[in-house]
């Protein structure tokens, strides 16, 4: 497939994620939208990996594998981030009984 398709698809998914972050008030949903953004990136990364592989396989049979490994690390990190993130959201919920980010305005100006 032309790489541009992947680029635009990923960028579209990414931007939907961004729009989600911008429009939603529920911290969990916002967090999910960020995961969506990460996945869009993952897809793009894999596509690029295959693009490089197609171009450079002749000289290096493992060409492009670094992209896929990077995606692997992204997933790992995302998982860790989610665990911490959800813990924090849970803590906040325990204290305020709300996950509405609009109420997060004690700190301002």
């Amino acid at each position: 497939m032309p790489i541009n398709y992947y680029i635009f698809l990923s960028v579209a998914l990414f931007c939907i994620g961004v729009a989600g972050v911008l429009t939603r008030r529920n911290a969990i949903i916002v967090f999910m939208c960020i995961e969506l953004m990460l996945n869009a990136v993952n897809l793009l990364m894999v596509a690029f990996s295959k693009m490089h592989h197609a171009a450079l396989a002749a000289s290096d049979p493992n060409a492009g594998i670094n992209g896929q490994l990077f995606v692997f690390f992204i997933m790992v990190v995302a998982a860790a981030e989610v665990s911490v993130g959800l813990a924090i959201i849970a803590m906040l919920y325990r204290n305020t009984h709300s996950v509405d980010i609009n109420f997060l305005n004690r700190l301002k100006h």
Binding site: V21, L22, V30, I101, N102, N105, R106, K108, H109
Partner: protein
Amino acid sequence: MSKFIYLVPLFPLIGFLINGLFRRRISKSFSGLIASAAVLASFVVSLLIFFEVKEENFQPVIATLFEFIHAGKLSIPFSFLVDPLSVLFLLIITGVGFLIHVYSTSYMQEENAPAYAKYFCYLNLFVFSMLLLVLGSNYVILYIGWEGVGFCSYLLIGYWFKNQEYSSAARKAFVMNRIGDFAFLIAIFALINQFGTASFGEIFQQAPKATTGLITMVTLLLFAGATAKSAQIPLYTWLPDAMVGPTPVSALIHAATMVTAGIYMVARSHVLYDLAPVSQTVVAITGLATAILAASIAIKQNDIKKVLAYSTVSQLGYMFLGLGVGAYTGAVFHVMTHAFFKALLFLGAGSVIHAMGGEQDIRKMGALKKYLPITHITFLLACLAIAGVPPFSGFFSKDEILAAAFVKNPLYYIIGVAGAMMTAFYMFRLYATTFLGKFRGTADQEHHLHESPAPITFPLIVLAILAVLGGFLGIPEIFAKNSHLLGHFLQPVFAGHENKVTESPVSVSTEWMLMGLSAGLAIIIVIFAWMRFSRKPELGEPAGFGKWLANKWYVDELYQAVIVKPLNAFADFLNRVVEKNVIDGMVNGAGRLVQYGSRQIRYLQSGQVGGYVLLMVLGIVILFVVQLFLRK
């Protein structure tokens, strides 16, 4: 002897220091003695120098004390010039100065010891400054003395500083003098810049090489300086106000010496003036105008000292007329005779005021002839001298000026004679109102009337002799060959300029006629005024034109309205509006702008995560947009 020229200013300086530093410790008699002795010593030295200078083959001496200013190529030595002109002034200053010191020892007796010492301290300082002025061998030293006398005059006018009006008068005098000094300074800079030196000798030597425009500018500026010091239009108004000072001060500073500094300076710079006919005309016209204006004001003044003050202004005008028409000797001659008779008049007035217990209004005097005989006689002689009645001194000197004016322009002569007639009129109005008629003061005052003590009458007598005989130093050449002693004495100074005193400028017959005309008119006016005011002194308030004159042509009011008030208003505007609101306002405004910006920008920090993300996204968008534009 001229090697010891530095002694002349040194003695008054020592007197000043002793009186100034120890004024709380020394007795009144001692401080008076010190001060008078210092001036007497100077007089003696001056006299000795005079005899040396009088010699036929005397060459001017420049005595350099030390290098005063030495900056780069500019070198200004602190040096004295001994030549006939300076020596003549030395004699006038120290001679008249000594007499006035003696007079003051008695006149100021009512002051307490420190104030008494302070008075003499100032007086000595004045003599010192005045001597510097006339001795300086360059314009800078001249300027030092110039400013020095101005400052002493300030101190002495404001001697009774408790009275705010007196100190205001002092301040006015100083400030007006400073305005003149401003012009004088610029003239000095122009000279230094043109000739690379401030010394008289070198400047006069090189002067013919300079352009007329520059010389004209310099001479006009110098004259502007002189108008302040010598109370000419437009800067004369300080002198009448200066009469609030002690009367001996008025005699010494505001009649005999300081005010003639301007004449000295112009006479000293005569080489330059000769090269600038325009300036000469300006000098002559200003002098003439001042002479007339002041004389007209004097006619309606009722304060004995004010009359004399305006008279001084008027006489100074004559001197400038003389300078302007090239009669330098005549002008200096008039300086000398004027010093005698005007000092005498002031001292006499002082004696009168003393006797009247401080009263200065002539309308409250009268018939003082019998109470103050010596004062009366000397005063009368002085009046005759100033009125130009022959053969008193004023006649000769004034006549010499008027004769020269006639040569230059007969109109000058006519106006000059008119002024002389006014002089005769107001002087005898003064004389008659004061000494003749009936006494118009209070009984109490009458009871206290008495002749002044010897220290006062002695100077009066000496000055009266001088006022009577002084004129014979300058008998016109038409009477006898080489009779103009002063002219001969001064000839080395004024040599080389076209209007030589020894050769009569006009034909003998014309000169006789002019002399006779002015003398005759003077005598007529004297007799008229005598008659008019001894019988019916002018006691009421003046009306009509007289009121105009009594109010001095409203010149003070004019200055107040046109210069002083707008200046103050403008300064106030600068202080309250420009300084506070515009300049400081801009500075504070910048601060306030930052604070305002701070208050506004912090609203971006809304505390909302969504808002932050939105702003971040916008930031990225902007970066991309910039990038897109840059790529194009």
